[in-house]
């Protein structure tokens, strides 16, 4: 069990719902992962089909908590308006706030992010800001009213894994009491385990599961990796040493000469 902002969650893995081969695979992957929070988005409803209604029915049937995002927003105004519309549809104050600053890297516009976070926090939202590993930006987000931070570990969808471990370690050290969720850039379960071993509270990922050859199997693998990383962190890991240390006791050995 995991306590996040007053909510008890059964898993430290948050899972995105995009890019799965089919709605059935999405549903099975969510169940296999053990996640209790899924991310969703909002888009224009296109004429006919009621696709949004069907998707929403599928998600509600999963019984998880919903974390809507503002993906694709490139300005404060867009992000704030999208957040308000998400609250209307999904009935939650939680919002994964994305203000994208660069088309190629999908890097957050951290200046716009802080501004949008302040507006939304003042309006009663619980803001999960998609940010970088920059400590000063993190401090500004906390000052704006955020109570959780979601740093990337590599560009969205890149599957590179943590490209700057010292920065993530530093972030964990600077904000010991703030829930930190690594969001974006994870490619393999070992990446998730690595950041969990650093003491991050949770991870959020999508593409690594959805685009795997077997998304359901990969969802299960990520769930296990997140649990393993957390348990390792909680259990106190051995620090690396540059000398060999025998693991078998050396006393009482027989002498053969």
């Amino acid at each position: 069990m995991f306590e996040l902002l007053g909510t008890t969650l059964s898993s430290r893995l948050l899972l995105g719902t995009a890019q799965y081969p089919s709605p059935a695979v999405l549903a099975d992957a969510v169940k296999a992962s053990g996640t209790s929070v899924v991310t969703v988005s909002l888009r224009r409803e296109m004429a006919g089909g009621r696709a949004g209604e069907k998707f929403w029915s599928l998600i509600r049937a999963l019984g998880t908590r919903i974390l809507p995002n503002t993906a694709g927003c490139h300005s404060v105004k867009e992000a704030v308006k999208t957040a308000n519309m998400a609250r209307e549809v999904f009935g939650t104050n939680w919002i994964k706030l994305e203000v994208i600053g660069n088309h190629d890297t999908l890097q957050p516009d951290v200046f716009g992010l802080v501004e949008a976070a302040r507006i939304l926090c003042d309006d009663g939202f619980t803001v999960f800001p998609y940010t970088t590993d920059d400590l000063v930006v993190a401090e500004r987000l906390l000052a704006a009213g955020c109570n959780v931070l979601m740093p990337w570990c590599a560009p969205i969808g890149s599957a590179l894994g943590p490209v700057n471990l010292p920065a993530l370690r530093s972030m964990r050290g600077h904000f010991p009491g703030v829930p930190l969720i690594v969001d974006a850039g994870l490619g393999r379960p070992s990446h998730a385990a690595t950041v969990m071993e650093l003491g991050f509270d949770a991870v959020l990922l999508n593409t690594a599961v959805a685009k795997a050859a077997d998304p359901v199997g990969m969802a299960r693998a990520f769930g296990k990796a997140v649990d393993a990383g957390r348990e390792a962190f909680s259990s106190g890991m051995l620090e690396p040493r540059e000398v060999a240390v025998p693991s078998t006791p050396t006393f009482g050995r027989a002498v053969f000469s």
Binding site: T39, S41, R44, E45, F55, W56, M85, E88, T207
Partner: protein, 65 residues
């Protein structure tokens, strides 16, 4: 009355936002609506009078990461 609905031009005789949604077969609690960039809450759609030239956004849930 000429409206722009989700970026598409639409000519209609309806006068309220709720009537527009009904005409488009978009009824239910799975939508968010904005008129001229301002959110219009569900509870206000029935009384919300549309004007010629209004830009309406109708958003619904979709997959997201």
């Amino acid at each position: 009355m000429k409206l722009t609905v989700n970026g598409e031009a639409l000519e209609t005789a309806v006068t309220t936002l709720a009537a527009l949604l009904a005409a488009l077969d978009y009824e239910g609690d799975w939508l968010a609506t904005a008129v001229n960039s301002d959110l219009v809450h569900k509870a206000r759609r029935a009384e919300f009078q549309l004007s010629d030239g209004d830009r309406i956004e109708i958003l619904s849930p979709m997959q997201g990461g």
